[in-house]
Amino acid sequence: METKKDSQTIAEYIKNWSRKHSLFVMAYGTGCGAIEIPATMTSRYDAERLGIRGAATPRQADVLLITGYLATKTLKRVIRVYEQMQDPKYVIAFGSCTINGGMYYDSYNTINVLEKYIPVDVYINGCMPRPEAVIAGFKQLQDKIARGDADNGTRYKENLDWYRANQQQVIKNWRMPDYNW
């Protein structure tokens, strides 16, 4: 995709260029899709040549991968992880389950639409997406960062009430910390 060099200042352009080449992925697998991450990271597909690598803690990470179905119990942890991550932060939703329930559409314990709870930058469809698809999704995210469109962290803060209302609809007993960012 075209990078909009003209509408960005040189400082923004350099900032976005360097951000897109160092994507630290939170090492947190939620569903069955996490099994594709080792394949993406190791020697055959070698995602690190694109600057994609793991990060141990939320505060060091840029990208949160939601790999597959998300139980309501896991959603609680995902929200805490997402809120602890520092700006700029990106979310890649991985697999059919995050889009509209996937094969767990009638489960009593998995959410259907991820975008209602945290803002999503890129969707990778498939059940499961193969490492090529995962890398294509990361490429899409890099293009988005280079264009300067990836500001979902800000969008989350601005629309926090809407997200909180959706989250509290699922997590009935809300005992979560508040962050002042």
Partner: protein, 188 residues
């Protein structure tokens, strides 16, 4: 032919008022009253060497308003599996707690309590086992409408109600014919 199994069956049926049959090679089942199950399990564990509790299973017999419980025990000496089966009332599901016989029964019983609402008097452990903040009917009961609950709580996007074959959608959208070799897989 199946002497070992017949011997096991006759030993259990002579000690307790139960019915039973040899299912097949190394598989024996007995049907017991729910009140005698714990004494049968105690007996086969201590007297007959059935040391290993494989599993406790619950089956929801909603047509008979009963829960069927299946206790599976295994002997390492004879390599035989004994199934102790019983029915309990579905409307007031109470069963004897057997975690004094096997400690690991505690885990199964807590799961049954959460997923089917069966009460085990004297069961130690938190009320919450796997589910968090669950205030509905126990979800593994067959009269729990899981799709309805999912739609109410998680509300999916439109598009799922169309069960049309995806190839038909693509072919009408792109104006291409479905090839003959693929038509035999079409939904009619």
């Amino acid at each position: 032919m199946l002497e070992q199994e017949q011997a096991l069956l006759s030993q259990v049926t002579s000690a307790f008022p139960v019915k039973g049959k040899v299912m097949r090679n190394r598989r024996v089942e007995v049907w017991a009253e729910s009140t005698t199950v714990s004494s049968i399990l105690m007996y086969v564990k201590n007297q007959m060497g059935y040391q290993h509790l494989n599993h406790i299973t619950c089956i929801d017999r909603i047509e008979d308003t009963k829960f069927q419980l299946v206790y599976t025990v295994f002997s390492h000496q004879t390599k035989m599996t004994l199934f102790v089966k019983t029915f309990i009332d579905r409307n007031a599901p109470v069963m004897d707690n057997i975690d004094h016989i096997w400690d690991q029964a505690n885990t199964y019983e807590r799961e049954l309590r959460e997923m089917y609402g069966i009460q085990f008097p004297g069961l130690v452990g938190a009320q919450e086992f796997i589910l968090e903040d669950w205030d509905e009917m126990p979800p593994m009961r067959r009269d729990f409408k899981t799709e309805e609950y999912s739609e109410k709580t998680f509300s999916s996007l439109p598009g799922r109600e169309n069960t049309q074959d995806v190839r038909e959608t693509i072919s009408t959208r792109s104006g291409e014919e479905i090839p003959d070799f693929a038509k035999k897989y079409s939904r009619d």
